[in-house]
């Protein structure tokens, strides 16, 4: 086993008495005060997550756009400088190698933010594709994960203090972070260091993700807590990150996504452009034409039940029709909910199903994503 890694913020988590777990090879805080309190802080005020475990891969060069267009499912060519999009990297069989965010930092520079557990796979595959697609040396793929750290600052109160973190204007498009529109990124100077600030997140709340060199991340974290102290800002761990993303129906690699699941099966068709060539396209076109065998949908429990969890079986009239990919007791809805892979032809919103929890069956209804909407 490789040695478990720690982010530069680990000493702060220890000082805050966080409970830590191994996540994707990293010792990460799962919670500080409690998952529910941290979840509510993000929904109602502000929460700060250490996401330094996530990987950062730079794709640089005259053919960088062209390369990503041929590699990822979404259209990198739609991005102007300062824009970002969600995208997927597939294997040749259309299975998901990783889900990621693509940020266009400059005309010939793209930043990919990838899952911690997938950095090495992604990096190897991208390097191989550079050679296969004969883009070498016009494209250079660089793994900067070891040098960069990141934090996510999420919640309705974040816009009240985030601009005060920086004193100078952004270097790309905007004057201050709150000028960024959804999926926009800019570069701000902090302590003579470039910090990427993006209007993106994994919680369904307004907020920002900040990517910065390891050496300034602790100062940046402290500064955010200092500025946010009157706005209910709390540190939030991976436990709350999971319940928040789950209420939104956002996929988690390893649960909704893996190398044997296609993006269409995962319900991510919106992020695939089948009109252009990309790695794994052929399989997706064939699924599109011949129909899927299963699809991932949301579900909500319709009576009191134990929390649904990954691996539980889903039934209709006594026949197993699927399995839960992620589930929890939703702190916002006050009931069980999650996502499940459901066989065709049963994968229909509104379909009533039963979920087996130990030796009992509990009713649930298949639902659109997100399962939680603000002001519901």
């Amino acid at each position: 086993m490789p040695k478990i890694k720690r982010t530069p913020l680990f000493p702060l988590h220890e000082a805050l008495n966080a409970r830590c777990v191994d996540f994707g090879g990293w010792e990460m805080p799962i919670q500080y005060d409690g998952v529910i309190a941290e979840h509510q802080a993000v929904r109602n005020a502000a929460g700060v997550f250490d996401i330094s475990h996530m990987g950062e891969i730079m794709v640089v060069g005259a053919h960088a756009e062209d390369f990503l267009e041929l590699t990822l499912t979404n259209r990198a060519s739609d991005l102007t400088v300062g824009d970002a999009q969600y995208s997927l990297l597939c294997n040749s069989q259309g299975g998901v190698v990783d889900d990621l965010y693509v940020y266009r930092i400059a005309q010939e520079v793209f930043l990919l933010i990838v899952n911690a557990s997938r950095v090495d796979n992604d990096f190897c595959l991208l390097q191989k594709l550079v050679v296969d697609l004969e883009k070498d040396p016009a494209v250079n793929v660089v793994n900067e994960s070891d040098d960069l750290a990141a934090i996510a600052v999420q919640g309705p109160n974040v816009s009240l203090f985030i601009d005060n973190v920086f004193t100078l204007k952004g270097l790309i498009n905007v004057d201050k972070p709150t000028d960024l529109t959804k999926n926009q990124i800019d570069v701000f100077i902090y302590e003579d260091t470039n910090v990427y600030v993006a209007n993106t997140g994994y919680t369904g709340e307004a907020g920002f993700e900040l990517v910065a060199p390891n050496k300034v991340i602790t100062q940046l974290w402290d500064r955010i807590f200092d500025l946010g102290k009157n706005y209910g800002v709390k540190p939030a761990g991976l436990g709350a990150r999971d319940t928040l993303r789950l209420e939104m129906g956002y996929p988690l690699y390893g649960n909704e996504l893996n190398e044997n699941v296609t993006p269409l099966e995962a319900g991510l068709g919106y992020f695939i452009d089948l009109e252009k060539p990309f790695q794994g396209r052929q399989k997706l076109v064939s699924q599109q034409n011949n129909g899927l065998k299963r699809k991932n949908l949301g579900f909500v429990m319709t009576s009191k039940s134990p929390p649904p969890r990954k691996g539980y079986s889903v039934y209709i009239d006594g026949d197993q029709v699927g399995a839960v990919s992620s589930g929890t007791q939703s702190p916002s809805l006050g009931k069980g909910m999650g996502m499940a892979f459901i066989d065709m032809p049963y994968a229909l919103v509104g379909k009533e199903v039963e979920i087996q929890i130990r030796d009992r069956y509990y009713p649930a209804v298949l639902s659109k994503k997100p399962m939680y909407k603000k002001d519901d």
Binding site: R19, I30, Q31, G34, V35, I36, G239, T243, K304, S305, P306, P307, R309, T328, Q329, P331, R358
Partner: protein
């Protein structure tokens, strides 16, 4: 440090038991609730059912995990704490009083020799 009342007996699987006149009340310890964190569901045993000592008889679920609860002593379930159905968080707030799980009528003379006293339990969980 978590609370470990002197007058109770304990198991290595973190149940507490209060034995009185041939009956026993069972719950989980302060240490257990603090390790589990936010408890969102408690599946209680059926009233009238008989369990052997050490038999799995209930489940407590936090946001992250489901954990089995074992009968510390054998006997028939006389009552369960219905309040946990609507307010499972009572286990976090008050594990030794309003957060109790169930009450059993002991099958015979209680054999407390397999149970821990407060002192042994505190060293068991590293708080001794």
């Amino acid at each position: 440090m978590t609370k470990i009342p002197e007058e109770l007996n304990y198991t290595k699987s973190h149940e507490w038991v209060s034995v009185h006149d041939g009956t026993a009340i069972v719950g989980i310890t302060d240490h257990a609730q603090s390790e589990l964190t936010d408890i969102v569901y408690v599946e209680l045993p059926e009233v009238g059912r008989t369990y052997a000592s050490g038999e799995q008889c209930a489940v407590v679920e936090s946001v992250k995990t489901a954990s089995d609860i074992y009968a510390p002593l054998g006997g028939e379930v006389l009552a369960v704490n219905e309040d946990l159905g609507t307010t499972p968080g009572l286990v976090n707030e008050d594990p030794y009083k309003s957060g109790w799980f169930f009450k059993i009528k002991l099958s015979g003379e209680p054999d407390l020799s397999d149970l821990l006293n407060a002192l042994s339990y505190s060293s068991e969980i590293g708080e001794g």
